[in-house]
Subunit: 322 residues, 2 copies
C-alpha cells in the first residue's frame, strides 16, 4: 500500500483529467472545473482509495467513486458559501463571488448529479448498497447544515448539540468515503461499517482540531486568518466549552462577543479561553475521538501492516505531527 | 387501465402521505412538504404510472419512482424560482419568498437526493438502467436552465435554439417519466426509448402551448395572469416566431419590448402577433409536435386499447379539448 499523500495525488490527477463540456455550456461547467481544481487535501477521496486497497482492492476500481465523493464535497462548499455569504474559499474568490449566486446554485446542482453518477460506477453487485450509503449520507449532510444555520440563531446550544451537528455535517461524509472504499475493495458489510465509524470519529476529531487551529494555530499552516471564528461569534467547540463554565466567565464572554470584529476582540476572547484552559480541553477531546477512530480501525479487521497508514492519517489530521 | 386523472389522483395521494421528519429539522422539511403539497397536474408522475400499466405492470410498482420524479420536478422549481427571482408559484408565495433563499437552496438540495432515493426503489435488475436515465435527464435539465438564462442576455436566439433549449429543460423530464414507467412495467429498452420520444415530443408541444396560452388563453384556465411573458420580454416561441418576419415588424417588436410592463405593452405586442398570424403559426407547431408524439406512441408497441389514453393526454395538454 501507498501512503495517504500518494492516494491523494492519484485522485488529484484523476480530478484534473475530468473533461467538461464547453462551448455554449461553458457558463455551467467552468465554475465546476474552477471549484474542482482548487486542490486541498483531497481527504475524502484519498481516504476512499486507501480504504479500498486496505481490504485488498485496487485503487483504480474506486477512482470514479472517489472523484464522485470529492465532487459531492465541493457541491456542498458551493452552496454553503452562498448560504453563509462567504466570498473566499481556499484563498480564492468563491464561485458565487467570482460568477454570481445563480451560477453557484445551478453549477452546484449539476455537481450533485455528476457526483451521484460517478458514485454509481461501481460493480452491479454493490450498486444498491453503495448508492443507499451515499444518499443517506447526503441527507445527513443537509440536516447538519440546517442545524448549523439554526444554531446561529439560538443561544442555548450545548457541546453535545454541537457534536451531533458535526457528526452530520462533517463526520458522515468522511465516514461514507471510508465505508464505500472498503466495500469496493471487497470488505464485508460489517467491516465496511467499522470503517464508516473510523471516518466518522476521525471527522469529529478533525473538526474540533480545525476549531482549535482557528485560535491556537498559525495562519500559514491553517490557511485562513487566525481568529475568524471568534470575530464571527461562531459557536465552535471552544466557545461552547467556555460557555459551560461559571456564570461570571460566561458573562465576560457574552460581553466580548458583542464587540466589533478586530484584534482586540480576538485577544480578549483568547485570554478568557486561556484562563479556562480551553486549549487543553479541546486537545483532550481531539485525543478522545482519535482514540475512538483507532478502536474502530481495530474492529474493521484490516491486516496489521495496513493499519499504520490510517493511524498516520489520524495523527496528521489531528495535529500530532504538525 | 385507468384514465390519466385517475393516475394523477393516485400519485397525489401517495405524495400527501409522505412523512417528513419534524422537530428541530422542521426548517429543512417544511418547505419540502409545502412545495410538494401545491398540487398541479402531477403530469410527470401520472404519466409514469400510466406508462407502467400500458406495458402490463401495476401502478403500485412505480409509485415510489413516480413520487421521485415529482420531487425532482419540484426541486427544479424551488431553485428556478430563486434564480428567476419569482415570488409566486401556483398562486402561492414561492419557497424563497415564504421562507428565504437559504431555505430554498438547502431544501431543494435535499429534494434532489430524496428524489434519487425514491427513483432507486425499483427492481435490482433495472436499477442501473433507470438510475442512468434519471441522472442523464437531470444533467439535461440543468443544461436547459443554463441555456435559458444565457438566452436572456442574447438577442440572436432563433426558434431552433429555443426548441433545443426546451427539449433539455422541459422535454427530457417528461420523456424520462414515460421511459422509466415503461421499464418498470416490463417494456423492452427499445419500447421504453419510444416512450421517451413520446414524452419528449409531448413536452415540446406542451411548452409551446403554454407560451400560446400566455397570450391567447384566459387567466382562469391558465392559472397565471395573461401577458406575463410579454411584460417580461421572455423569448417564447411566439416572440421568436414574430422576430423571424420582415425587418419592419422586427423593429416594431423591439420598440414594444422597450416599453414599461403594463396593459398597453401587452396590447401592442399582441396586435403585432395578430398581424403576423403568430397564433396560427404556434398552433401549427403544437400540432406538429403532437403528431410526432403520436408517431412515437405507435412505434412503442403499446396494445391498441391502451394507446387511446395517451392520445387523450396529448389532446388535453395541447389544448384541443379546452
Amino acid at each position: 500500500m501507498k501512503s495517504f499523500s500518494d492516494y491523494s495525488a492519484l485522485v488529484d490527477k484523476a480530478i484534473k483529467d475530468i473533461n467538461y463540456p464547453d462551448g455554449e455550456l461553458a457558463s455551467l461547467y467552468e465554475p465546476i472545473q474552477y471549484a474542482m481544481s482548487a486542490g486541498g487535501k483531497r481527504l475524502r477521496p484519498g481516504l476512499m482509495l486507501m480504504s479500498c486497497e486496505a481490504f485488498g482492492g485496487d485503487a483504480s476500481a474506486a477512482m470514479d467513486a472517489a472523484c464522485g465523493i470529492e465532487m459531492f464535497h465541493n457541491f456542498t462548499l458551493l452552496h454553503d458559501d452562498v448560504m453563509d455569504n462567504s466570498d473566499t474559499r481556499r484563498g480564492r474568490p468563491s464561485v458565487h463571488a467570482k460568477w454570481n449566486t445563480n451560477s453557484a446554485i445551478l453549477s452546484g446542482d449539476t455537481m450533485l448529479t455528476l457526483a451521484t453518477r460517478l458514485i454509481s460506477k461501481v460493480p452491479d453487485s454493490r450498486l444498491r448498497l453503495i448508492l443507499d450509503i451515499f444518499n443517506n449520507m447526503a441527507i445527513r449532510v443537509y440536516e447538519g447544515q440546517a442545524m448549523d444555520m439554526d444554531f446561529e440563531k439560538r443561544d442555548d446550544i450545548t457541546k453535545e448539540d454541537y457534536i451531533r451537528m458535526i457528526m452530520d455535517k462533517t463526520g458522515a461524509l468522511i465516514g461514507a468515503a471510508a465505508q464505500i472504499g472498503a466495500l469496493i475493495g471487497g470488505a464485508s458489510e460489517k467491516e465496511a461499517q467499522e470503517m464508516y465509524e473510523y471516518g466518522m470519529m476521525l471527522g469529529i476529531a478533525f473538526q474540533i482540531q480545525d476549531d482549535w487551529l482557528d485560535v491556537y494555530g498559525d495562519a500559514y499552516t491553517f490557511g485562513k486568518p487566525i481568529g475568524g471564528d471568534i470575530n464571527n461569534n461562531k459557536k465552535t467547540y471552544l466557545l461552547l466549552s467556555a460557555m459551560e463554565c461559571d456564570p461570571a466567565q460566561r458573562k465576560a464572554l457574552v460581553d466580548a462577543m458583542a464587540l466589533a470584529p478586530g484584534e482586540t476582540k480576538v485577544r480578549i476572547v483568547t485570554n478568557i479561553y486561556d484562563r479556562l484552559k480551553i486549549s487543553e480541553i479541546s486537545r483532550k477531546a481531539v485525543g478522545h475521538y482519535s482514540a475512538l477512530a483507532t478502536a474502530a480501525l481495530k474492529r474493521a479487521g484490516i491486516p496489521e501492516e495496513n493499519k499504520e497508514l490510517f493511524r498516520k492519517l489520524t495523527d496528521k489530521l489531528t495535529g500530532r505531527k504538525i
